[in-house]
Symmetry: C2
């Protein structure tokens, strides 16, 4: 029998989950519709049915725990608090998992799960102090200090996407102005693209694309084709991100900052300016103590691996405590 | 016999040290000249002579450890690395203490020591996640996560004074521009005072004081006397500090931010604007989870208490580990 945990990522549209062993191998995985208007219990019931139908023991799997990533998940309380895309209200998600499966369970948000996945299975193996930055529609982050995710008093620490980087800057979904994620994220770089297209007169492949059709990928493709404005858009994005990460280093002095997600897939176009402005703005005593590196988690399975890492870490911790 | 530790604060001019018990009572204390041109060994020898002369056992004291705060002290390595006001170069200060006293020793910088003092003996008793801000000539800080000071990879985490808050802002001693401490510190508020005096035309008590003679205390006295420009100087200082602390909360979600030092002694003049702008700029999920409070450490003995707290925490930790 192989010990595995269930890693689950609950999104507004779909919920993906799979069986992950201690080495990070994903053995089986599934995707089901979340049905955001149904209560949370129904979703977990449907997940249980899928798992039961897979007949784990006949397949030599021994399920020993559940880890789940969900929006607005509070690791401490186990509650999900008014998730934006789910009509759940505030619900004891950890308790629901424990009731359904009678197994140790833990929940956190997707960026913290990504950080844990990176630490157990990805680019941060062996690293004690690092920051995971997820560059998706928004900018999420997981802060790891001495091998533990920082949750803080509220349970919601590590909101680097909502550090205000430009006084009276761009309007953010949070209601304030100038948050980092309005510049450094898939939607942020799109806004920068339109700002650059507005301010400059040079021809650009991007002038044929509407705001709604523009993606990080289109800017990447244009940059690959040598489009000067596309390069400038990456430069400006990397400047703001690099400066913000230099400030983050003054707080935490991490040994690495790991960039994950669609925008990080633009590789040298985003890494080069980010690293350049990071180094230019770093306090001298932190020079050469922190590297900015790409994630090593596969984009498609990272959410499952991250959630699985969350519960693997809990299970290992309790084993260490028992044997002490 | 009463168990006590030696808490020491090594400054460029004087070194103060004293005997502190587990409750934070300071039983005896001394101050000797540091003699910055002498090697570190000489200073520790002179400290040892003072302690020996005090005949601790005859006075019923049992000395069990040494904690020291020093500029550029690295907690991990035990080395002090090129302290700005001491001609020591890089030296194994922890090792020197251990050799001289044959007792467990630990060193850190003064802001981290202040944070530990606050946690064991001051305003942060019982708090697991908080930030200590020392508002002296510069702005120092100690970040505490889950009851431990965050040192990070370099050993120098928690440099909030060198977070860049104003792009292309005031020149900082670190060589960069716009660092928080160029605005929020005793020297920062003096610069703000001169900026306000330059920009405005109103009469002010402060117009009779030269830059070199101006102190936080003179601005406080003017504010007490109802001087409008003095109030505006505090308002601007609190605005920049409050916004920076709101950003700090996005990283760490502390339950408290403790303000210590000369500028914090301006009480409501600095606390009111700081708290106002802090709350105005806080991400909504952190509302009401963090309070900004004054230190409860006595200004005169805080450096000794903080350094003593450092080694008390180490000694307690090893006791807990031994009994596990």
């Amino acid at each position: 029998m192989i010990d595995v945990v269930l890693g689950a990522d609950i999104g507004g549209t779909n919920t993906v989950f799979g069986l992950v062993d201690l080495e990070g191998t994903l053995h089986m995985s599934w995707s089901i519709p979340t049905k955001s208007s149904e209560p949370a219990e129904k979703l977990i019931e449907r997940m249980k049915e899928v798992i039961d139908a897979a007949d784990l023991s006949a397949n030599n799997f021994n399920l020993i725990g559940i880890g789940a990533g969900a929006p607005n998940a509070n690791y401490y309380t186990g509650y999900v608090e008014n998730p934006p895309n789910l009509e759940w209200g505030t619900v004891d998600l950890k308790g629901i998992f424990q009731n359904q499966f009678s197994l140790p369970s833990a929940i956190t948000n997707d960026a913290n799960a990504a950080a844990l996945g990176e630490m157990l299975f990805g680019a941060a193996i062996g690293k004690k102090d690092f920051i995971e930055i997820t560059l998706g529609t928004g900018l999420g982050s997981g802060v790891v200090v001495d091998e533990n995710v920082v949750y803080g008093k509220s349970g919601f620490a590590g909101e680097l996407g909502h550090v205000i980087v430009i006084e009276n800057g761009r309007k953010c979904g949070c209601g304030r102005n100038g948050c980092l994620e309005t510049y450094a994220s898939a939607s942020g770089i799109r806004r920068t693209a339109f700002e650059v297209l507005a301010n400059k007169t040079e021809k650009s492949l991007l002038r044929d694309i509407s705001f709604n059709n523009l993606t990080s990928k289109s800017i990447y493709d244009a940059a690959e084709a040598g489009d000067k404005l596309a390069l400038e858009i990456f430069e400006r994005t990397g400047e703001i991100l690099g400066k913000a990460l230099a400030n983050a280093t003054a707080y935490l002095s991490p040994e690495a900052i790991v960039l994950f997600g669609g925008l990080a897939d633009a590789r040298h176009f985003i890494f080069e300016p980010t690293i350049k402005y990071f180094n230019q703005n770093l306090l001298p005593i932190f020079k050469d103590s922190c590297e900015i590196i790409p994630s090593k988690l596969p984009a498609s399975t990272a959410p499952i691996l991250g959630s699985a890492a969350l519960i693997w870490k809990e299970l290992n911790k309790s084993q260490i405590e028992e044997s002490a």
